[in-house]
């Protein structure tokens, strides 16, 4: 499972999908991937999907900040979606939830 994949959609939206634990061990290449993708695709909007993220440390938070700055540089809309309750907590504490919209993940599907 790669920690990041990028989907540049025809409607001008760049979808960034993060997975698993995003922390100091993998944040540097993930940050680079996101920044490069935004710069290259020059989308009108960036959506960062955290649905599959289980943990973010401060370096992982840095990925979201780099994404925000890259999107601001090209005046693209920036939004984080699928944040778990814990990640949402982190984004509130760090005040990032004031800087860009964050959508919470829906309730988990019925336990299997």
């Amino acid at each position: 499972m790669t920690p990041v994949s990028i989907d540049s959609r025809a409607d001008g939206v760049l979808a960034v999908i993060l997975r698993g634990e995003i922390d100091y061990t993998n944040a540097a290449p993930v940050t680079q991937t996101v920044a490069d993708a935004v710069e290259k695709a020059r989308p009108t909007a960036v959506r960062v999907d955290l649905t599959e993220v289980t943990f973010l440390d401060s370096s992982g938070i840095g990925v979201l900040i780099t994404g925000m700055k890259a999107a601001r540089d090209i005046q693209a809309d920036y939004r984080v979606i699928g944040a778990s309750a814990k990640v949402l907590d982190q984004l509130r504490i760090t005040g990032l939830a004031e800087l860009f919209p964050v959508d919470q993940a829906g309730p988990p599907a019925a336990a299997g």
Binding site: I61, T94, G95
Partner: protein, 630 residues
């Protein structure tokens, strides 16, 4: 109030004594690094980096390598060993992989230019390597630049490799025979390093005379000279590290009645001009004469606008005694119906501290950038830096009206040493400033950002403001303006007024403080403020509360509560339980009892905790009191 330069110098002393205090096998490494630094003309910390990298590449213990280096570089080595010294040094410095045809042959006794260039490529700052050009009789007639560091730059803005092949006498004729030229000759002759400063270089560029001031260090290296240049130009000095440090104290006023010729100065204005009030105000012509000639056009222009009815607002450099002060003058006039000036009111602010604080911040940053070296050295340096920058008091300390205890729990692995920091000190006006912060990431990058923030905070509280929200706004701009890779961090800053026991605090994306009162611990509701370094326009707000005797306040970084498998509330629960228990136990030494019981929740992260409790007036021991209740 300490001068910022003094603060900076004492920081350097701190670092030096911390390095000297190292005992055991480390001291070998210290001595080797010191000698290597002297030999190649680089800061000791870079020499460390070189040594550690070489040891790692050769798969040897740093101590063993250090012993070898000492064996050849120690001043006791016989003069006849010169060649051995050079070849060992070459071997030590020839550590980057290179194509075989460029491998140096050190037995000639000369340092191959490729080796020097390889070293210079790795050094921050401006360095060049020049070799003497001799005439038939063997006299030195010129110096040829054969290698240069990437950041080296001359007054004509030639940089790095473009400097190679230039001759001193051709390119900078005004230097021939001057102090630098003489220093070159002396260093060549006796091998002892020299420093030339200030070296003023004047050159007409497109008809406009340009002046640049340098300090230059000259070391002998092989058959040539390693020359390190530091430029002191106004742009660099005033580098905008803090976008705006407004609000300044130290201001005086004066009144000039042009009809009666009477002049009045406030006491502070005499102090700014260092003049005895008994002598009366300075006549205008004399105070104008103190202005630096370079600023005269500014003064004339401002004077002209003032004469035309505008308010005067100008900052000029003024020579007072043997110091240059930056004085901002704001003046307004009372005029008659015809526009004639009758009376002038003026305010003069001494803004020197702001100017020097800026320069100091830039200097600290430059120092810290030099730490960035190889990965092998990074972890070691990060740990060292943290110990040096962040000495943790062993026992609770007493500040005005407040007893404060600090605990730092480093991450379990040295490579995970991070950027947690704290600040606990009284301010000039008798209040107490507490702070904790956490820089994102780990290792040297985080540690340097941590040091930068901590020293910026100290400087700002002295020169600019003690308002917690304003301080965070400054730190935020500092991180946003940082040219280094995106650094972010979170922090809490709190100011305690011992007279009212009120605590004013602000936060930047940081977990809220805990307050314990009568066995009940609550998280304080947070005022607004996002983390530092994300948004240069971020707004920080303050919150206030009043502490009661018996209250405990806990500021902490998230290593205390953050855990991969738990929510933050779950992480907080054991901390709150401990605080409640300590508070109910009614111990006489609550802080001493508390700190050992707090364990970090995340072994991957370091944790910094600052705990404080207000003191009853009588309990505040005099500084250095022999018996202190903790």
């Amino acid at each position: 109030m300490a001068e910022p330069q003094q603060v900076y110098l004492s920081l350097i002393d701190e670092i030096r004594s911390a390095v000297e205090a190292e005992a055991g096998p480390r001291s070998l490494l210290d001595r080797a690094a010191g000698l290597l630094a002297g030999r190649i003309g680089c800061p000791v910390r870079e020499a460390y980096a070189h040594l550690l990298r070489i040891a790692e590449e050769q798969g040897r213990e740093p101590g063993t390598l250090a012993a070898d280096v000492l064996g050849v570089l120690e001043p006791g080595a016989r003069p006849g060993d010169e060649r051995r010294v050079r070849s060992a040094l070459d071997a030590a410095l020839r550590s980057r992989p290179r194509p075989p045809d460029r491998v140096a042959e050190p037995s000639t006794g000369e340092v191959p230019v490729q080796v020097v260039q390889t070293v210079l490529d790795a050094l921050p700052g401006g360095h060049s390597w020049v070799v003497p050009v001799r005439d038939a009789a063997g006299e030195v007639v010129d110096y040829l630049t054969e290698a240069a560091s990437p950041e080296a730059r001359d007054t004509a803005d030639r940089r790095g490799v473009h400097l190679i092949g230039m001759r001193l006498a051709d390119s900078y004729p005004s230097l021939v025979g001057g102090p630098l030229w003489q220093a070159y000759g002396q260093v060549l002759a006796d091998g002892s390093p020299r420093e030339v400063q200030p070296l003023t270089y004047e050159r007409a560029r497109e008809g406009i005379p340009a002046e640049a001031v340098y300090s230059v260090r000259v070391h002998r290296l092989g058959q040539g000279l390693l020359v390190s240049w530091t430029r002191h130009d106004p742009q660099a000095r005033q580098a905008e590290r803090i976008a705006q440090t407004e609000r300044l104290g130290n201001l005086g006023w004066g009144e000039w009645d042009l009809v009666t010729g009477q002049t009045a100065w406030s006491e502070q204005l005499y102090r700014i001009y260092e003049r005895d009030p008994a002598e009366g105000p300075l006549p205008g012509s004399e105070s104008n004469a103190m202005i630096l000639p370079e600023d005269e056009p500014l003064r004339l222009e401002a004077g002209e606008r003032f004469a035309n009815g505008e308010t005067l607002d100008v900052t000029l450099r003024v020579r007072v005694g043997d110091r240059i002060k930056h004085l901002r003058t704001v003046a307004d006039a009372v005029r008659d119906a015809s526009g004639r000036t009758l009376k002038v009111y003026g305010i003069v602010q001494d803004v020197t501290a702001r100017e020097t604080a800026r320069a100091r911040l830039a200097e600290v940053e430059r120092e810290l950038r030099e730490h960035r070296q190889s990965l092998a050295a990074e972890h070691r340096l990060a740990a060292q830096l943290q110990q040096i920058i962040l000495p943790i008091p062993e026992h609770p300390i007493d500040l005005p009206g407040l007893r404060v205890a600090v605990r730092y729990l480093p991450a379990e692995r040295a490579s995970r040493v991070g950027g947690d920091w704290y600040h606990a000190a009284s301010t000039a006006d008798g209040q107490v400033l507490l702070a904790v912060g956490d820089v994102a990431g780990h290792g040297l990058q985080a540690a340097t950002t941590m040091a930068q923030l901590r020293h910026a905070l100290s400087a700002l509280t002295v020169t600019t403001t003690t308002d917690p929200a304003a301080l965070l706004a400054h730190l935020n701009r500092l991180l946003c303006a940082s040219t280094a890779v995106a650094s972010t961090g979170t922090a809490i800053v709190a100011r305690f007024d011992p007279a009212t026991r009120s605590l004013t605090w602000a936060q930047a994306g940081h977990p809220p403080p805990l307050r314990t009162r009568a066995g009940q611990t609550v998280q304080l509701p947070r005022p607004r403020g996002p983390l530092l370094g994300a948004d240069p326009t971020a707004v920080y707000e303050t919150a206030d509360l009043t502490l009661e005797l018996g209250d405990l306040i806990l500021l902490y970084t998230d290593g205390l509560v953050e855990h991969r498998q738990r929510t933050l509330q779950e992480g907080l629960a054991p901390v709150i339980a401990t605080l409640d228990e300590i508070s109910l136990a009614d111990t006489v030494q609550p802080l001493a009892a508390l700190l050992p019981r707090l364990r970090r929740s995340n072994p991957d992260d370091d944790t910094c905790i600052v705990a404080a409790r207000p003191l009853p007036d009588a309990e505040a021991d005099p500084p250095g009191g022999p018996h202190v209740r903790r």
